[in-house]
């Protein structure tokens, strides 16, 4: 068994034991019953990219453990004036105990972790990774399924631009699930199958959905398309999750979405609000899992 992770940069560096430990700890966490285990610890939330859900989630998680937080946005004076990530990180290092970081460039947290010595928690970097989301998705699935082993988890939509899809695939693969990616060529290159063991591509949505235990829908990230042409009508016709399509999945299948969700695009209102949808549960679980992440990385470390 590996030691407790020092930073959380990506799921790839965790083994299944470490993953299960964090998930087990998350089950004991509840923001409605705050703890003081991280009292006196200072956590910087360094956000180079806008985020409501993840930032709020980490902030509440940190405070629910008694830590104090400071939010730093990319619009912060020094960053806007052109300060490098290295210098921002070094400055923060002398005043905080850990950095939770969101950055539009893939690999930025990996770079920062090489440059400074305090723990870095990746809260999403470019198209690369979003490990806390991967953990909370696994946590949510485990609230409904006994284990991930052998589950058919279908992820549909804009996989190319999705750090969630990558982190999820690594995590689900490590816990023994079958990961099926589904989407059009431009949003899902064939190279995706090499991401982790057990990842496959099924282009036809109906075929992909057959017998699925979990359906993970992704938003088309219009802001990252960079000239790629997506015909919206065509996309909806081929990849929108409708009530009738959902019937192809197992009866007890759950529908997930990392948000933000665009109703009418990747799924209909009907599906978004149906009983099988666990989208809102994901949000609450996000806080618990992030409490567990912060506790794991910062707890007992002085």
């Amino acid at each position: 068994m590996k030691a407790k992770p020092r930073s959380l940069l990506a799921i790839e560096s965790l083994d299944s034991r470490q993953i299960l430990d964090i998930l087990a700890l998350a089950r004991r966490m509840n923001p409605a019953r705050p703890r003081t285990t991280l009292r006196g610890r200072r956590i910087a939330l360094l956000f180079y990219e806008n985020s409501t859900r993840t930032r709020t989630s980490f902030e509440i998680a940190a405070k629910s453990l008694g830590a104090s937080t400071v939010v730093i946005h990319a619009t912060t004076a020094s960053i806007e004036k052109g300060e490098s990530l290295k210098d921002t990180g070094r400055t923060l290092q002398s005043i905080v105990d850990a950095i939770v970081m969101r950055h539009p460039s893939s690999g930025a947290p990996v770079l920062l972790s090489r440059l400074i010595d305090i723990p870095i928690i990746n809260a999403g970097d470019g198209m690369h990774a979003h490990p806390s989301q991967g953990l909370l998705d696994a946590f949510t699935i485990l609230n409904h399924k006994k284990s991930l082993k052998g589950l058919k988890i279908v992820t549909i939509g804009d996989i190319f631009h999705s750090r969630v899809a990558r982190s999820d695939a690594h995590l689900f693969s490590k816990l023994g699930a079958r990961v099926v990616f589904c989407g059009p060529d431009v949003l899902l290159p064939n190279t995706a199958t090499a991401l982790a063991p057990g990842v496959e591509i099924v282009r036809d949505m109906e075929t992909a959905l057959k017998g699925a235990d979990v359906v993970m829908m992704l938003r088309v990230q219009q802001e990252r398309l960079q000239g790629m042409q997506i015909n919206v009508d065509e996309y909806i016709r081929r990849y929108q999750l409708t009530a009738s399509r959902l019937k192809l999945a197992k009866k007890d299948a759950i529908v997930m979405h990392p948000g933000p969700m665009i109703r009418g695009m990747e799924m209909t209102d009907e599906v978004a609000d149906c009983k099988q949808s666990v989208v809102l549960e994901q949000v609450l679980n996000g806080v618990k899992v992030r409490m567990a992440i912060l506790q794991t990385i910062l707890g007992g470390r002085r």
Binding site: S84, K86, S105, S106, L111, D125, F160, P189, T191, L195
Partner: protein
């Protein structure tokens, strides 16, 4: 000037058909005598014992960024050529993406001025179009007279078919080679690495190989129509070499160079977002690397060139997608080639000398260089093909340290570099 005797070494001069022990006498910047060991007649006042070493016509790097004028925080002509000397290069061809862009006889002359403090020969490659904007040709005749040895918009490929056609035609008339950085930027998007399994996993956008080979295909086609000499810079894909082969089969005057990093590394080296492995063209797949090695072995590749691209630390120690493209390589290219090509039995020492000296001299038409026949310029590279050493990038003569070779062990080391009869680097 003194007379220098080089004795005891093994001379490899492919242009002169020599691969045997021989002594040489250098005088007044020229080779004045080549003779069997101990048989020289000229009286020398200085002697160098080169026992166990290879003596070769000075190595010529066709692709170097010296960054001067304008970007001396990265490199200068003095520091870049000092690195070249330590790496065994007696001549470097300097790319024109300086500030200002070298598209004028004035800049071309300025770069060759003795005041720049060059340690080895600097042969400017002038911009093929004004400002390397790809719109209007520069004055090839005047640039040639000022000392430019080739034309290129390196880093900014000439995309417009019509302009490339004009460039090839005019260069042919003037007698200069057009060097193309083959990259269709509309396809590549100048993304930070190769498109493939690794780029997907890293969440980085990738350059497909087609952005390179389709441009080579086009350039070969235009060269076949316009005549003239086309040289493809830093080939990184197997398919580009296919295009070169096809061109040659139909008698197009096309040559190709590869950079050591493309035969040493693959895209997987980027897996940790290490910007020391970020360059353009990017490191490619294993299959492409193998195709490059085949091209070196079968003669498709004419030259090894470094694409020495120095940058300041602050331009590299940043986010992978924002970091500058390029790595330094002057000090290790010869050692890396000996290690990965000669000692791996892919090519002979003679073929290595061809790729580092004989052929580059021909490609840019450097008269009296690329050979050590009597009467030629006394540019000599002396190396020990077997010496093992570890490259310490902290001690580099270059101003920049953006180099993945630091800490690597090589077999084969340059021991002395002689430019115009003068020893400019020696570890003898």
């Amino acid at each position: 000037m003194s007379t220098l005797l080089l004795y005891g070494g093994h001379l490899i001069d492919p242009a002169a058909g020599v691969d045997a022990p021989a002594d040489l006498v250098l005088k007044d910047g020229k080779v004045v005598e080549v003779a069997a060991p101990g048989k020289t007649k000229t009286v020398a006042d200085e002697k160098l014992n080169l026992k166990g070493l290879i003596v070769a016509p000075g190595f010529i790097d066709l692709h170097v960024h010296l960054r001067e004028p304008g970007q001396t925080h990265k490199e200068s002509i003095a520091t870049g050529t000092a690195a070249a000397a330590a790496g065994g290069f007696t001549s470097v061809c300097a790319m024109p993406n300086t500030r200002p862009v070298n598209d004028s006889p004035a800049v071309t002359r300025w770069m060759q001025d003795a005041e720049r403090g060059a340690v080895v020969n600097v042969f400017p490659i002038a911009a093929a179009t004004l400002g390397s904007q790809g719109e209007k040709l520069s004055d090839y005749q005047a640039l040639r007279q000022a000392g430019a040895v080739a034309l290129s918009d390196d880093g900014k490929p000439i995309l417009d078919d019509h302009i490339m056609r004009e460039a090839l035609a005019l260069a042919a008339k003037v007698g200069l080679t057009v060097i193309q950085h083959a990259e269709d930027t509309k396809i590549s998007g100048t993304h930070p690495m190769n498109e493939g399994v690794t780029s997907f996993a890293l969440g980085l956008r990738g350059q497909p190989t087609a952005s390179e080979w389709q441009m080579v295909e086009r350039d070969v086609r235009l060269a076949s129509q316009e005549g003239g000499r086309l040289h493809v810079a830093h080939v990184s894909t197997g398919k580009s070499l296919e295009m070169v082969r096809l061109g040659r089969a139909s008698k197009v005057a096309v040559t190709a160079e590869v950079a050591p990093h493309h035969f040493l590394f693959t895209e997987e080296a980027c897996a940790d977002y290490d910007t020391r492995y970020k360059m353009n063209p990017p490191l490619r797949s294993k299959a492409d690397r193998e195709a490059i090695l085949r091209g070196i072995a079968d003669g498709t590749v004419d030259a090894i060139a470094t694409d020495h691209a120095p940058h300041a630390l602050y331009e590299k120690e940043i986010e992978f997608d924002k970091a500058a493209f390029g790595i330094t390589g002057l000090e290790v290219a010869v050692a890396a080639s000996l290690t990965a090509l000669v000692h791996e039995k892919l090519i002979t020492l003679k073929r290595l000398v061809e790729m580092l000296s004989t052929n580059p001299a021909k490609i840019v038409g450097l008269k009296g260089r690329g050979t050590l026949a009597v009467g030629s310029v006394a540019d000599v590279t002396i190396f020990d093909p077997k010496k093992r050493w570890i490259y310490d990038v902290e001690k580099t003569r270059s101003r920049a340290k953006n180099c993945p070779y630091g800490g690597m062990t090589f077999k084969g080391k340059v021991r002395a570099t002689i430019v115009g009869g003068k020893v400019v680097f020696s570890e003898l």
